[in-house]
Amino acid sequence: MKTNKMKKVLIALDYNPTSQKIAEQGYKMAKAMGAEVTLLHVVVDSALYSSVYANMGVWQIDTLDTFDTLEAFKNLKTGSRNFLEKAKRHLADKSIQNIQKEGDTAQMILETSKEINADFIVMGSHSQKWLENILIGSVTEEVLRKTTIPMFIIPTKKRD
């Protein structure tokens, strides 16, 4: 058994008030195992947005001009970077690695876990985006269904 290898924990965060709790608990667990921590935030990519909005008739994304769309997307990425930096500062650990991805959240979480060779994935149980859950399914549930590495689920109540 390769017990000497440093374990790696991937903590997936989203813009949710419960993210702080997930980051703290995931971090605590990682430290208890003496593991390295990577924080991940996924920016939903524009293609997904456009497919979600494609059925909305007059509100189609291609009615916006391209420049605005690009600009909005850039802002999304900057926001995401700041969000992760904040989380890292909150945990007060410089060794934490931050990763930003674009695309389908569940897929990106699984891909990143493979890329960095993670031993565990940490996620919250609930998403407050109940409407999103109904429309496109719970991200946690999807990762849970497809993961090949153990997953650490932090219970987050709907109102926490």
């Binding site: 608990q25 208890a32 650490f152 689920i153």
Partner: protein, 155 residues
């Protein structure tokens, strides 16, 4: 922040081919964290067993005593598998989710470990399909060991 306050880990096992994998992973985790391990097996009602085992035929359990014996035997075996006699074992009966969460509360558990095949109820909590307050009140993190590949093997 206290770096390590995960002191007690509850590993929930059922009669599934993946039980070894779940206990190995849970035990390794407990060792890393220097935590105490408690093994829990929840017997479901005999009537459910007969439904489940109908297809298996000869493997039918005939009485409650057999079931009790099998449960204890199973946990003892699991305990020996990881080679730690200090592990506490508990057999309960009733609803799977409720018994896990109740036991976890009673024993002041810091983390629950279980296989992904037994997470139907968890998915339901995640998806918000379960409204049972008791289940929603859990604050204990759950470590899920993926066991799906093995499930396919027995189906």
């Amino acid at each position: 922040m206290k770096p390590n306050n995960i002191n007690k880990i509850l590993i929930a096992l059922d009669f599934h081919l993946s039980a070894t994998k779940v206990i190995e992973a849970g035990f390794a985790m407990a060792k890393m964290m220097n935590a105490k391990v408690i093994l829990l097996h929840t017997k479901i009602e005999l009537i459910d067993y007969s439904l489940i085992y109908k297809k298996i035929g000869s493997l039918k359990l005939d009485s409650l005593e057999d079931l009790e014996f099998a449960a204890h035997n199973f946990l003892e075996k699991s305990k020996h598998h990881v080679g730690d006699d200090m592990i506490q074992t508990i057999v309960k009966q009733g609803d799977f989710a409720e018994s896990i969460l109740k036991t976890a509360k009673e024993l002041d558990i810091d983390m629950i470990v279980m296989g992904s095949h037994s997470t139907k109820w968890l998915e339901e909590i995640v998806m918000g399909r379960i409204t049972n307050e008791f289940l929603l009140q859990t604050k204990i993190p759950i470590l899920i060991i993926p066991t799906r590949n093995k499930i396919k093997a027995i189906l």
